[in-house]
């Protein structure tokens, strides 16, 4: 039961991703070709709302439901951030999906999503196995 709230939030998140069509390969191509404001509007307004929300949480020292003070870990830099970022970008344009949309596609009944998720798991596993040998 303690996980039910995450199921609800995930479901809402999946509905939003689907109804805004950001899970469509066509929308991602449109974005990388600079032919519509749609994706930029979605990501940009999400960041603005997220930023304002986090500022409000921090300034008011809000606590989470379980009483913990809300703390967000800082992201640490290493060269993997841009190297891996670039590699992900290649895959993003090929598949037209980042990890969240892959799961929403699967739920919407796209058979390809099952193959894409298995391939993404293989990619994550391979990175994990090679991690010590890769530049960071």
């Amino acid at each position: 039961m303690k996980y039910f709230k995450y199921l609800v939030l995930g479901t809402l998140f999946g509905i939003i991703l689907t109804k805004s069509e950001v899970i469509s390969w066509f929308r991602i191509q449109e974005m990388f070709r600079f032919q519509s404001f749609h994706m930029y509007g979605v990501i940009g307004s999400a960041v603005v709302v997220g930023l304002i929300s986090i500022q409000l949480i921090k300034r008011n020292h809000l606590k989470s439901l379980n009483g913990e003070p809300i703390a967000i870990a800082d992201k640490k830099f290493n060269h993997g951030v841009w190297i891996g970022g670039f590699i992900f970008g290649l895959g993003w344009a090929l598949t037209g999906a980042c990890p969240g949309p892959l799961f929403a596609q699967l739920g919407s009944g796209v058979g390809a999503a099952a193959v894409l998720i298995l391939a993404a798991l293989a990619g994550t596993w391979t990175y994990s196995a090679l991690r010590e040998k890769l530049p960071h």
Binding site: Y6, I54, A93, G100
Partner: protein
């Protein structure tokens, strides 16, 4: 009301709602939005194979797997239950370019069937789009320490310059694929 839910949602409705997911997860459980980590947790749970990066207490991250399960359920509700137009309303310029440059003719569905139908796995192009594409997503996001949700939405919202570097990397990769590699593939 139902009719409004069935239509595609404009960016100024969907974007702010996606943004609100960030404080919702923080307030509900002190959790940071990030989806690509779920791939690592599945690897750690199923095939850790003694790899140090996959040897950790993944059970503490089950919330993330439940969230992802919810996303799939949301995809089902959003697309099948509420229903969605068969054709995504992309711009006429994009349709024109995809026809001319990638020889696409079928614009129905979320993904072009000509590239993503499973029987494409019988030829090299299917392997590039389905297998190599998925592989690069899984490999790159973990290497970068996050994806569009963890870096672009969550990270930028928290003013992390590292996430800005990652997002520039995402875009550089996407532009190189779209403008340099695609023309070589077709």
């Amino acid at each position: 009301m139902l009719e409004l839910l069935q239509k595609p949602w404009p960016w100024y409705v969907a974007g702010p709602l996606i943004g609100l997911t960030v404080p919702a997860l923080l307030l509900v459980g002190n959790k940071a939005l990030g989806i690509s980590s779920s791939l690592r947790h599945v690897c750690a749970a199923c095939v850790p194979a003694g790899i140090p990066f996959l040897t950790y207490n993944w059970r503490a991250e089950i919330w993330n797997l439940v969230f992802v399960l919810g996303i799939a359920l949301g995809g089902f509700i959003g697309y099948r239950v509420l229903g969605h137009p068969e054709t995504i309303g992309i711009s006429a310029e994009t349709v024109r370019d995809l026809k001319a440059q990638m020889h696409l003719t079928d614009f129905s569905g979320l993904l072009p069937r000509e590239l993503f139908a499973l029987d494409n796995l019988a030829n090299w192009r299917g392997w590039v789009f389905l297998v190599l594409g998925g592989f690069l997503v899984g490999f790159g996001t973990r290497y970068a320490g996050g994806c569009t949700s963890g870096h672009a939405i969550s990270g930028l919202s928290n003013l992390q310059w590292v996430s800005l570097v990652a997002v520039i990397g995402f875009f550089a990769g996407g532009l190189v694929m779209t403008w340099v590699i695609y023309p070589l593939l077709f």
